[in-house]
Structures are given as C-alpha cells and as structure tokens.
C-alpha cells in the first residue's frame, strides 16, 4: 500500500516539470483565446522555433543574449501569426482562423525540419546540469528550472494583468471588446500585445523543455498538445484555470502508468486525457438553441 502511494507521489513529482511546461504554454493559449477567440494550434511550433534559435545563436553570442533574443523572437512570431493569418481570416469564420493556425503549424514544422534536420538535437540547458534522486527515479536541475520558471512566469503574468494599465486594457478588451473600444482602448493593439506576450511565454516554455527533452521539429511541438487539454479543462478563458488544468494533465500523465497493467499500455494517459477533454467539451457544448441564430448573411 505504502509503495503504491509512494509510487504515486514519485509519479506526481516527476510530472511537475511537464505540468510546468503545460502551464507556461497554457497561459499563452488562454491569453490568445481571450483576445482573439481563437485556439492557436500553432502554439507548439511558436514555442519550438525560439528553442532552435537559441541552439544556433548561443555558440555565437553567448547564452544570456541568445535567450533574450529567442524570447523576443517568440513574441514577434506570435504577433506575425496574428497579423498575417488570424486577423485576415477574421471575416471568414472562427473555424477558418483555427485552420489558419494549423497551416502555420505545418509551415513552421516544415521549415524547422528543413533547416535543422529531423534528428534529435541536444537542447541548450540554461542551468548547470545535475541529477538527483527522487524515490526510485532521477530528476534533473532542468526540471527544477522548468518548475521555477512556471511559478515565476505565472506570478509575472498575474502581476501584469492585475497591476498595470497594459494589463487592464487587455482584460477589458477580453471581457467586452466593444465596450473597451468605447473606453478608448484600441482592441487591435491589445490583441497584438496579447499574442506577443503569449509568444514570449511559449518561447520560455519551449526553451526550457528543449533543454530537457532535446530538439525535434515535430515531436517537440507535439508535446504541447496536452496544454490545450489543460486550457480546455480550465475553461479556456481563465489563467488560474489553465494552471490548475496543467497540474491535472501533468499528474494524469505521470500517474496513469502506475495504475496497474492497463495503465501501462502505450498511450493510456492520452486516452484518459482525450476522454476527459471530450467530456468537458461536451458538457460545455451547445445544443441547438435560440442563441445560436446569427444571420447567415451578416
């Protein structure tokens, strides 16, 4: 019994770094959804490209400068996606915008694959590498860096939103876009700012995660997918919710394999999460209702 509990505890501890990464990505996903009502399916790729940039730049300009540049690049990438793709497709439909982000994902993955190849590359570690024991398993300083970064990042995030004019403007625009413009807030500008912020957070998560699991043009972005599940669980518009959701998702991935022989089948955590995500979406889902009637011609 104790060993099962201990196993679970270790599972949770091991899951925390991943949950932290999900939290960082998830915060960006939520900020974008609040600003643009779009799920940015390119988010994983926006997180990965800066990690590759860090890899290429750090030997030349040193790690600290390269990190700053990479984070900035992540922000710029976010703004570019919003302005060039998402905004253009606004008049078509929400779905078209989401497909647009999917297209961006495909493009970025293809570019990264071409430029850096499809072999696994070692990520740049931002902390001196050291291992230590947790129960039967090993954890590394990179893991701690991820956890620390996500806690710090969340605090900065909340602080920004609560205490600055910039944050107030973004909150107002997200709560009621039209009313915000009547207050003098340019909603297009706050949208761009939101995507920039999301891009920076994504880059941070990507850089740190790459330091752990290495760089791969397709696998690394795909690791972000559970962050969407986390956002969905948290309600898509709540920063606090997504952090909680990230914990749930991370823990699920960590614990499911220790739940007996069924849990050890490959892909079981994914099945569990998919079922959870679908149930959550369905419960919040829409039955044919009067409120659905919007003009087909507007």
């Amino acid at each position: 019994m104790i060993s099962v509990l201990a196993g679970i505890a270790v599972g949770i501890a091991l899951a925390l770094p991943l949950a932290s990464a999900y939290a960082l990505f998830g915060l960006g996903i939520v900020v974008i959804h609040r600003a643009s009502r779009v799920l940015n399916l390119a988010h994983g790729a926006i997180a990965t490209l800066p990690a590759y940039l860090l890899y290429s730049l750090s030997p030349r300009i040193g790690i600290p400068a390269a990190v700053l540049l990479s984070l900035f690049a992540g922000g710029l990438l976010g703004v570019a996606v919003e302005r060039l793709v998402v905004r253009r497709l606004r008049r078509v439909s929400q779905t078209a915008q989401t497909v647009g982000t999917v297209a961006v994902f495909a493009l970025l993955v293809a570019v990264m694959g071409k430029v850096w190849g499809t072999n696994l590359l070692p990520g740049v570690s931002l902390v001196p590498h050291q291992a230590f024991r947790v129960g039967q398993a090993l954890m590394f300083t990179e893991d701690l860096a991820l956890i620390a970064a996500s806690i710090l990042g969340s605090l900065v995030f909340f602080g920004l939103f609560k205490f600055t004019h910039f944050g107030l403007a973004m909150r107002l625009a997200a709560d009621n876009r039209q009313a915000a413009s009547l207050m003098g807030i340019d909603p297009d500008r706050t949208t761009a700012q939101a995507w920039f912020l999301a891009g920076v957070f994504a880059a941070l998560g990507g850089v740190l995660l790459a330091g752990e699991s290495g760089l791969h043009p397709y696998l690394l972005p795909l690791q972000m997918l559970p962050a969407f599940v986390a956002a969905l669980l948290g309600g898509l518009d709540s920063a606090f919710g997504v952090v909680l959701g990230a914990l749930v998702v991370g823990v699920a991935i960590g614990i499911v394999p220790s739940l007996g022989s069924i849990g050890q089948q490959p892909g079981m955590p994914q099945v569990a999460l998919t079922a959870l995500a679908l149930v959550v979406m369905a419960r919040r889902g829409v039955r044919l209702q009067a409120g659905d009637v919007r003009s087909s011609l507007a």
Partner: protein, 253 residues
C-alpha cells in the same frame, strides 16, 4: 449662431444588406439635452453608434467640436470627448465596480491625480456605487448597473454623453432618479443625447427631440411641443390610437 457641438448630416448606415439609417441629419448644441424617440427598429441606436464610431456611415458626414470625425474608430473618439453608454448596459461583467470606473478613466490614465477626483465626483452623483466598490459588475441589480455605466461614462469628463435606452428593464422610479442625476450633470456643462423608448420620460427631461421612424427623422421640435403633438402617437401605434386620443380629449374637455 455658433457651430453646434455635434452635427450629423445626411447619414446612411447599413448592417450588411439592411439599411438602418436613410439620409439622417441632426444637431446637438453645447450644453443641450436632446432626445431621440421612435419605435423599435427606427434607427435610434444606429444613430448613436454612428456618432460614437462604433459603426461607419456608408454616406454622409459627422462633425464634432469643429472636427470632422466621419468614419473614425470609436477608440479615437473617446479622447475627443464623446462618451457612449450603450444599449444593454455593456458592462465589463467579470470586473469590479472599481475596475469599471478605471476603464472609464482610461483615456486620462496619464493624469494620476485626476483619477481620485473624477471618482469622487461620480460617487457623489451615485452614492450607492461606493457601497458596491469591490463587487463584480455582473452581480449588481439592473438599476445599479445602469448607474455604473453612466458613472463610467462620466469618468472621462466628456463634452457629449450618449445614453442608449437607459430605462430598459428598470422600474420607473429608478429611471426618474437617474434622469434627475443626468439633469445635474447637464447643468455642469455636459451635452446629452438620449435614446429612449418611453416617450414621456424622454420628452419631459430634454430640451429638444427628434422622432425617428424607419431610419429617418420624421419630427423635430422642442420637447414640450412634441409632447403635445398627437402625430407622435401615430408613429408608435397607428392612426386608431390617435383617433382614440382625440376622442378622449373631446370627452375630457
């Protein structure tokens, strides 16, 4: 005759294929209280939206405080002195009363000391808001919400305050209360353009009024004269009602 504060000339407005305004013209002078009345769908809300920049007219001109503002987006016009309190109370429902007021002050956010003064002023007008400071705006009662959005509109110290359907869903007593406060605000120099479905309220509390129907101005007069004009009833309810009104006047004479 000085130039009016607001002049709308020959404006057309469309929502997709629907034409909401047809060659509409009106004026508001400094310090005036003007009402827009008319049945639902007549174009009253669309008129306010054109003035505040929420929608762009497809034809025509809008001038405010000597500047041409036709087609400029809403967020630029707030800085010029237009505050719009939209229909349906357009709150920031998830945010506190305090935050909603801060939102109203946004255009003046660089004036650090100004915020406290502006806030105190609106709290004088609407003392009940002080009690609800930390509450989420969405949880306030209808009347309180309406007071909040008017207060929010005042935070920017506008030259022209646009108010759309403030009586919607409110008890007549509260509506009367709010109208009184608007009178006070007006005496301090703010011009007011009010859209109101309840004709009597609107005409009793304004200096001039325009009656709209199907996107056009059909009557334009001082409020007291409009109040006595039987044609106004016809615009709402048809001729039988007018005849009925005349019958009554004969019997009560």
């Amino acid at each position: 005759m000085s130039e009016p504060l607001l002049r709308v000339t020959d404006v057309d407005a469309h929502y997709g294929p629907i034409q909401a305004l047809r060659a509409l013209s009106l004026e508001v002078h400094q310090g005036e209280r003007v009402a827009l009345v008319g049945p639902n769908g007549a174009g009253k809300t669309s008129t306010l939206r054109v003035v505040s920049g929420m929608i762009r007219p497809t034809r025509g001109l809008v001038r405010f405080a000597g500047e041409e503002i036709t087609g400029r987006p809403a967020h630029e016009l707030v800085a010029l002195g237009i505050a719009h309190v939209p229909e349906g109370r357009a709150l920031f429902p998830a945010m506190t009363v305090e935050d909603n007021l801060r939102a109203g002050f946004w255009v003046r956010r660089s004036e650090r000391s100004g915020y406290q003064r502006a806030r105190d002023r609106v709290m004088d007008y609407f003392p009940i808001l002080a009690e609800r400071e930390g509450q989420a705006a969405g949880t306030l009662s209808g009347g309180e919400q309406q007071m909040l959005v008017v207060a929010r509109g005042l935070m920017s110290e506008p030259k022209l305050l646009l108010i759309d359907e403030l009586s919607l869903g409110l008890a007549p007593k509260i509506v009367a209360q709010i109208f009184e406060i608007i009178e006070q605000i007006n005496r301090q120099g703010t011009a007011v353009l009010i859209v109101e479905q309840f004709v009597h309220m609107a005409l009793q509390n304004t200096d001039r009024a325009y009656a709209l129907a199907k996107g056009q101005v059909v009557m334009d007069d001082s409020s007291s004269r409009l109040l006595a004009n039987p044609q106004l009833v016809a615009a709402y309810l048809g001729d039988v009602a007018v005849a009925h009104a005349r019958d009554l006047s004969l019997t009560s004479a």
